[in-house]
Amino acid sequence: MTHIAQPLRRKLDIKNGRVDLSHGSGGRAMAQLVADIFHDAFGNEWLRRNDDQASLGTLPGRLVMTTDGYVVSPLFFPGGDIGSLSVHGTINDLAMAGATPKFLSASFIIEEGFPLADLKRIAQSMGEASRSAGVPIVTGDTKVVERGKADGVFISTAGVGVVADGLMLSSDQARPGDVVLVSGSMGDHGVAIMSSRENLQFDTHILSDSAPLHELVAVMTATAGGALRVMRDPTRGGLAATLNEIAQQSNVGVFIEEAHVPVKPEVAAACEFLGLDPLYVANEGKLVAIVAPQDADALLGAMRTHPLGRDAAAIGAIVEDEHNFVQMTTAFGGGRIVDWLSGEQLPRIC
């Protein structure tokens, strides 16, 4: 029998290596990258089959699906990184329908020259986030683009979830008299990102609030699912953008009290000297819920029993308004509009 030499399989040099174009070419180098970095981090039965798709069987209930791209800069920030963010963000988009998130997919666009150590760290963080949330990443894709054609790494995740019978949440469901709840302090994520940007670095202990909200949502739906009309996570554009979207889609007005909106003193201080308004700053682990008035107190109480809803607060109410204004009584005692964000030069926050 002729002896055929087996190519020596060199381990990836995670410590000093960099992603090169061969890692995206579909050859052995790519297979090794996928196995050593992604399968290692996400490991589950679906991925191990190495098919082009994941076979998920049937799911009970109404299906919901979402997708989101992540281009945050910097990739690592206080309280999280692009990996955990890409898991939490998509889980939250599903959870805002009242859904139980079931499966995620992940697609990577990596810039040539990106350090393997950073890629590993990001993948491990995604794996950890997915495991602790109980939502597996079941399929994925990797592309490598030439140096300068991307900024380190971009991640795109999609997710599928199921909604129990009787729950029908949508941004057009808010009605006059409903109560506006938020699950905690506003603006933490955006300020954490800005504090770590090159040209703005300032010392702060603020961490991103990046977190999966589906368990908090499960507590809420179990308490008074029928009372939930709208749930949204106030990410880009912050609370202000979310409330304006709800006002417009439901053709109502919103009235809030500035003094009731939770904002951490450190976040308020950072916003003060950056010239920002915390109402417009992004969150990645908070939700806004519009709920029927009779169950508002019960829901608020239930939210406060969960660690991610500890600082939940009722901040205002839905009113009739043909102009769909979001109005606020300022802590100073006057009135103002909380308008849509317009053309502000904000950094890439998610």
């Binding site: 040209n199 703005l200 003094a259 003193p265 308020a268 201080a269 003060e272 308004d277 102009h323 204004f325 109005q327 009584t329 300022t330 802590a331 100073f332 005692g333 006057g334 009135g335 103002r336 509009i337 308008d339 849509w340 317009s342 053309g343 502000e344 030069q345």
Partner: protein, 381 residues
């Protein structure tokens, strides 16, 4: 937040509001102009108008650097940025100001011009140091508050021997603009009973340069901090001056402003800049001795000299009322474009661009009052 919350206290605001309401005489109308965009923004953001009686009216002034920059100078900046060797550094607000034919710095950037948004003059200086093959132009705008930092950057460039750093100077002077406003304010509709004077500008130039307002124009002025309680206290002080027939320069912002101001900053400005004979302001037209340019000793940093810029006066959109609004002669809602063709997302005039602009502030914070007013008018008629 220490040293901030104290100036935004709702109970103190209520008490001040009650004092103003008690002291403003029924049947007398009090028309006060807040000169600065910073005050306009504070009044709108905190809802100060809701705390004033109906006969105390605030008129928004021209103290918004982005708003008063004439279109011709924006055209110049766009032309500069189009030069292949030039990197233009600017504050973000200016990016969206509409120039002629629908152009803007934002669009120029999308078309390939090297335009970078910076937070300070020093950021631009750092870019010039790091990229010696680029000619880096800083688009300098602003009143006396932002002028000393530009002076320091120019001196720093001199010390570093930089040959690729230039300033396109559009620095303007507050007292000259105030004089132009008061000269124009003869008509009954433009009558001013008092001025809420600048906060940050006054920390640099002091209280003395406003003495002509009281002495020559017989108009009360109160230099005021930018916090909402500062503004309310200043309005009370102006109301008292009017009631007593006094015309004085009073200083509400004594925690930061002295009569002579910041002498060191004034010296730096004086060393680097001298007065232009005349400068065009949006809304005010040509105002004599109202702006600065680099002195001959610093000519090599002057973008106007380096790139032979000859500003051509450009016409504002004829339907846009920015000019009259900047003079205090009209309110944002008097403009036909306001809220329909002209919004913060689709600005037609500069007052809709900067958050300190009267139109942007009214649109973003105050336009619910227009609906309320319209309902009241309907109910009466």
């Amino acid at each position: 937040m220490k040293y901030v919350d104290e100036y935004r206290d709702a109970d103190l605001a209520k008490a001040l509001a009650a004092r103003i309401a008690a002291e403003a005489k029924p049947g007398v109308s009090y028309r006060f102009m807040e000169f600065c965009g910073g005050h306009t923004h504070a009044i709108s953001r905190y809802g100060v108008e809701d705390l004033l009686p109906a006969n105390v009216q605030m008129i928004h002034g021209p103290g918004c650097p982005v708003c008063v920059l004439p279109i011709g100078r924006i055209n110049d900046a766009i032309k500069l940025a189009a030069l292949p060797q030039v990197t233009l550094c600017t504050y973000a607000d200016l990016m969206r100001v509409p120039a002629e034919n629908g152009a803007s710095l934002m669009k120029a950037r999308a078309a390939g011009a090297d335009i970078r948004m910076v937070y300070s003059t020093m950021d631009a200086l750092r870019i010039a140091e790091a990229e010696p093959h680029r000619e880096v132009v800083f688009l300098a705008i602003g009143f006396e508050t932002t002028t000393p930092p530009t002076a320091l950057a120019v001196k720093r460039a001199q010390a570093l021997g930089l040959r690729n750093f230039f300033v396109f100077c559009n620095h303007v002077l507050t007292p000259a603009a105030m004089r132009a406003i008061l000269d124009g304010a003869n008509a009954e509709t433009e009558r001013l009973d008092g001025i809420v004077g600048p906060a940050h500008v006054s920390t640099v130039i002091g209280a003395r340069p406003y003495e002509f307002v009281a002495e020559i124009y017989r108009t009360p002025i109160v230099i005021s901090g930018f916090e909402p309680l500062d503004v309310m206290q200043s309005i009370l002080m102006l109301t008292r001056q009017v009631n007593a027939g006094r015309r004085e320069v009073e200083n509400q912002y004594a925690r930061a402003v002295s009569r002579d101001g910041n002498i060191k900053a004034q010296r730096e400005m004086d060393e680097v800049f001298d007065l232009r004979d005349s400068f065009e302001w949006r809304g005010l037209g040509e105002v004599p001795k109202s702006a600065l340019r680099l002195r001959g000793a610093y000519a090599k940093f002057d973008a106007e000299r380096r790139f032979d810029i000859e500003t051509v006066r450009a016409r504002d959109n004829p339907a846009c009322e920015c000019g009259a609004i900047l003079r205090g002669a009209k309110r944002p809602t008097d403009c036909k474009l306001f809220g329909s063709l002209c919004t913060p997302d689709t600005p037609m005039g500069s007052c809709m661009v900067s958050s300190e602009g009267s139109c942007a502030a009214h649109y973003a914070y105050g336009r619910f009052r227009d609906a309320r007013r319209a309902r009241a008018v309907e109910a009466v008629s």
